[in-house]
């Protein structure tokens, strides 16, 4: 067992974990932050995306011990109290989700995207989401959602 201390959504958390405990399982099963999902086991789908020290990462491809000392932000930590994050608002306004399973990871990736590029083109948005699969929406409303958050939505 190894001791890890992480700051998750602004709160410091210390726990004993097996070294092989994946960050996503640590978040979900030890911290009960079940908003981060698991959608594959080969690091493609992005359902498990969280921010580690401010950058998007697939929590299924990271051991909790590797993130020792890091700041982790999950979907649960995105809103400011009752005020939704602009991307959460965008996904709601633009119908950017259906079953909702990919949504937390998709939103966290979009946070990374807009941090890097606050006014992305449509093509940049689509490529910025290369690491996230959605099987429900066909992505068009997700693109709209990101544009909504970025304030780049064009009237069709």
């Amino acid at each position: 067992m190894a001791q890890v201390t992480l700051t998750v959504n602004g709160k410091q958390r210390t726990a004993e974990v097996e070294p092989r405990m994946l960050l996503v399982h640590f978040l979900r099963e030890q911290l009960m932050l079940t908003g981060t999902h698991v959608g594959c086991d080969t690091s493609q789908c992005g359902a498990c995306t969280v921010l580690v020290d401010g950058r998007s990462a697939k929590a299924c491809t990271l051991f909790a011990v590797q993130a020792d000392g890091s700041e982790v932000t999950t979907i649960e930590g995105l809103a400011d109290g009752d005020a939704l994050h602009p991307l959460q608002d965008g996904f709601w306004e633009e119908h950017g989700l259906q079953c909702g399973y990919c949504t937390p990871g998709m939103i966290m990736s979009a946070v990374n995207l807009l941090n890097d590029n606050p006014a992305p083109s449509e093509a940049e948005i689509r490529h910025g989401l290369d690491g996230n699969f959605c099987r429900c929406t066909g992505y068009q409303h997700i693109v709209n959602a990101v544009q909504h958050a970025a304030g780049t939505a064009s009237k069709e």
Partner: protein, 286 residues
């Protein structure tokens, strides 16, 4: 999917990492970003007894100019390579190549050293490192060692890296007239074929050419036949088209899988050699 159990240690320096690695007697593995290793561990295709985490060794991270060369620390993540202003200005093919790897999350964690050590035959970096004629800097208990990229990639998942050695950096002389062209495997986003080409041109004629290929064989190689066909010729579209034509046909032991047969891969080697060379030419005039 769940990996089997292992011990975990964090190395504080390169020397510490080498010592810890040696102590595992060959059953340990270094981990930086883990984006090559962790997926294999989850599938239990790789079951190290100990992981030695080198991600926080600051000496391994960063992109800088040194002795007229550009050095990329082995622990530098793909995202930083893809967005480096230094590389963008002096050797954009490196950034371009990094930008084709995986996806944003993978690029945020995966490192150049990890990619090279893993030596996936369809990885993108090896082709580019061959084209820029990079040196791979290693360190082991016996001290540092430098291997030319051309000698480093040996076979399927096999590189010139001892069991107790660590990759510390890659260095290369910047070259502006270079480009990477890649046929994506649509599922994995690895390269079915990836070609990097670098040209040196003097008075309108190609004075030197290096072309690196990934994806088509068990490991990355230089396309020396193409290079020979280029040198001494005028730096024109016609030249590169001619030189690229036979690139695929000249290869032996071309890979075949669900995504591309041997014949298709051969053809795509020629196509992407041409595209990479055209990209390099375009940089020449830019």
């Amino acid at each position: 999917m769940i990996p089997s159990a292992f011990e975990y240690e964090r190395a504080t320096s390169v020397d510490d990492a080498i010592a810890k690695l040696a102590a595992t007697g060959g059953t340990g593995k270094l981990i930086a970003g883990g984006h090559s290793l962790v997926p294999l561990m989850k599938l239990r295709l790789n079951e190290p007894t100990t992981l030695i985490d080198i991600a926080r060794i600051s000496a391994l991270v960063g992109i800088r100019e040194r002795d007229g060369l550009i050095e990329i620390g082995a622990g530098t993540v793909h995202h930083d390579v893809a967005t480096s202003a230094l590389l963008g200005a002096q050797c954009p093919v490196v950034s371009d190549t990094a930008a084709t790897i995986g996806d944003p999350q993978v690029r945020n964690r995966g490192t150049i050293g990890g990619s090279l050590a893993h030596a996936d035959p369809a990885a993108d970096y090896p082709a580019m490192l061959l084209a820029v004629d990079a040196q791979i800097h290693l360190q082991g208990a016996g001290g540092p060692r430098v291997v030319a990229a051309e000698d480093f990639f040996q076979d399927l998942f096999t590189v010139d890296l001892g069991p107790d050695e660590i990759i510390t950096a890659v260095r290369f002389a910047p070259v502006r007239a270079a480009a990477y062209a890649k046929l994506y495997q649509r599922a994995s986003r690895f390269a079915i074929v990836g070609v990097a080409a670098a040209l040196e041109v003097t008075d309108g004629a190609i004075s030197a050419a290096r072309v690196g290929l990934t994806g088509a064989l068990s490991s990355a190689v230089r396309l020396s036949g193409v290079e020979t066909a280029l040198v001494g010729q005028p730096a024109t579209a016609a030249t590169v088209a001619t030189a690229a034509t036979g690139a695929g046909a000249a290869l032996s032991d071309v890979s075949a899988d669900l995504h591309a047969s041997e014949a298709y891969r051969r053809a795509m080697v020629s196509v992407f050699t041409k595209r990479a060379l055209e990209g390099a030419l375009a940089r020449l005039s830019a």
